[in-house]
């Protein structure tokens, strides 16, 4: 199940989360602008608030293992993000935590299982379908790509790279979609032609993971 030298460890996960805090701080305006077009202009603000709160909480109460980290992240996102993104990303990490129970490091298959659990949680919480113009339109293609990569024997870095690439394609594919879930759905046809903010933040999440484990 992959070389343990390139496995996902507690430290790697913490690095990923630190990168995410930077990424969402740096993309605060971009995500908010996307949400201004078809939502309520807060997605970037929400994500930055959430992931900086995650940093503060992890520093204050360092969790012992990967599962505890994800539990802490979930709880922090749930109580600090609000809106649609809070419960969705919160549920993602809650399920991810469950998938990591009893593990001190994750191999390639574990990483795919982690994302599968997390993305399944998003789907269950939000009840969106592919094509509804939501974060799932980035997450589901990413999951498919990662699953295929893992089955094809890729290492973790390769899996995450493929996932990030698929997420990006999925994110771009939201542009011509008409939203059927979330706030953008109130716009009907006027939601067409805009990139979904949640798909964008999900893509950033995967790109950050790829970058973290590529190094």
């Amino acid at each position: 199940m992959g070389d343990l030298n390139v496995a996902v460890t507690r430290e790697g996960v913490l690095r990923w989360l630190a990168v995410l805090a930077q990424v969402f701080a740096g993309n605060r305006e971009q995500l908010t602008d996307l949400d201004r077009a078809i939502g309520d202009a807060d997605h970037g603000i929400n994500m930055e608030r959430g992931f900086s709160a995650v940093q503060a909480e992890l520093a204050a109460n360092p969790p012992a293992d990967i599962r505890a980290i994800f539990q802490s992240v979930a709880a922090t996102l749930i109580r600090s993000v609000g809106g649609a993104a809070g419960p969705l990303y919160g549920t993602f990490f809650l399920r991810a935590a469950a998938a990591c129970a009893g593990k001190t490091a994750l191999g390639a298959a574990d990483v795919v299982a982690l994302f599968q659990a997390g993305i399944g949680g998003v789907q269950q919480r939000g009840k969106a379908e592919p094509g509804d113009k939501t974060m799932l339109d980035a997450l589901l293609p990413a999951l498919d790509a990662m699953r295929a990569a893992e089955q094809g024997g890729s290492d973790i870095a390769g899996i995450l790279d493929r996932g990030a690439a698929a997420a990006e394609a999925g994110m771009l594919a939201t542009i011509p979609m008409q939203a059927r879930k979330g706030r953008a759905s109130y716009l009907g046809e006027r939601s067409i032609g805009h990139q979904d903010p949640g798909a964008t933040s999900s893509c950033l999440l995967l790109q950050a993971a790829a970058r973290t484990w590529r190094l």
Partner: protein, 333 residues
């Protein structure tokens, strides 16, 4: 962005501190997590009624906490739904043993956060029921979307459910009443100008000099269409027609009519709008038996208004007339 605030990040907290300072006899504000609760809660044996949502819609919901209306309100960040820990803490704080009703506006974020909170409360052994308000006729309803937004009817549902709880209705009955209000209430709004979320620093949308957004949401979400500004009479007619056709309201109906300001509209204009609405309803032989004109569910400093009509019967009217003592709605006490 020009606002009377200190730091955009503290705006909600600072404002809640002012709410608490201004109305110590009515309510108190808890921080961490943030919620507003009746000064005298919990009331043993009474169903508690809670609502919550993003901030920026003041007086909703904190301004409706008090005798005869809400037991607690959970304010989120500006235009961002509150988080489950807030609703959980508020529910525990005001639970008087007879269960708690959550009044939720139909936005994906609100729905999911309240859902998670309800799960947490149930697991603590507190009976929770939820009523989802989805009264905005501006949004085409469809099984394939998030459905209609919750807007003005929320205010009426909070008042009526609060009165019922004060009368001693049990949880199922209060919840059923809330659903009846939702089933009989319809709203629509328009914007003359946008609003700026403090942390965002710039307007959520831009309108031309003579342009309005018909069917605006309360977060500055775009509505049905951009159109030129018309005389108030015609704008009222467009909103009222959409509302009346939807339920539909019929000759002989008695309604509670609310003309709500979005935050930046002078009262002079709101009364003018009410005058036009009153005339139109009377011409249709629909009787506005009660009225509410003012800022009740706002969008920061947005200019514009919304109209809400609630078809009533003797029970709803009598609950509406029951005493209420909150910062924003008060009579009989």
């Amino acid at each position: 962005m020009k606002k009377l605030i200190n730091d955009p990040h503290d705006a909600v907290r600072d404002s809640l501190a002012g709410l608490a300072a201004a109305h110590p006899a009515i309510l108190k504000v808890c921080f961490d997590p943030v919620y507003v609760m009746r000064a005298d809660a919990p009331i043993q044996g009474k169903v508690a009624v809670i609502s919550g949502g993003g901030s920026g819609h003041e007086p909703m919901h904190g301004g409706f906490v008090g005798r005869g209306m809400l037991d607690a309100a959970c304010p989120g960040q500006v235009f961002t739904s509150p988080t489950p820990d807030q609703m959980e803490a508020a529910t525990c704080a005001v639970n008087g043993g007879a269960g708690v009703l959550h009044i939720v506006k139909n936005y994906t974020g609100d729905i999911m956060n309240f859902e998670m909170a309800a799960e947490l409360c149930q697991s603590r052994g507190i009976e929770v029921r939820s009523v989802v308000v989805n009264d905005d006729v501006a949004v085409e309803d469809s099984l394939y979307t998030a459905g209609r937004r919750g807007v003005g009817t929320t205010v009426l549902a909070e008042k009526i459910c609060g009165a019922a709880a004060a009368r001693g209705y049990d949880l199922e009955r209060v919840a059923a009443l809330g659903r009846r209000v939702v089933a009989n209430g319809r709203s629509m709004g328009l914007a003359l100008s946008p609003c700026t979320v403090p942390a965002a620093g710039k307007p959520g949308f831009v309108l031309g000099d003579d342009e309005i957004e018909m069917g605006i949401g309360i977060h500055g979400e775009p509505g049905r269409k951009r159109m030129p500004l018309l005389p108030a009479r015609e704008l009222v007619a467009q909103m009222a027609e959409a509302i009346l056709a939807d339920l539909p309201f019929r000759e002989g109906d008695r309604v509670i009519a609310m003309v709500n300001g979005m935050g930046g509209t002078p009262l002079m204009e709101l009364y003018l709008v009410y005058g036009e609405l009153d005339r139109l309803l009377n011409a249709r032989h629909i009787t506005p038996t009660r009225s509410l004109v003012g800022n009740y569910i706002t969008s920061l400093e947005m200019a514009g208004c919304s109209i809400t009509l609630l078809k009533t019967d003797d029970e709803l009217l009598s609950l509406w007339d029951d005493p209420v003592l909150t910062p924003a709605l008060r009579w009989g006490i």
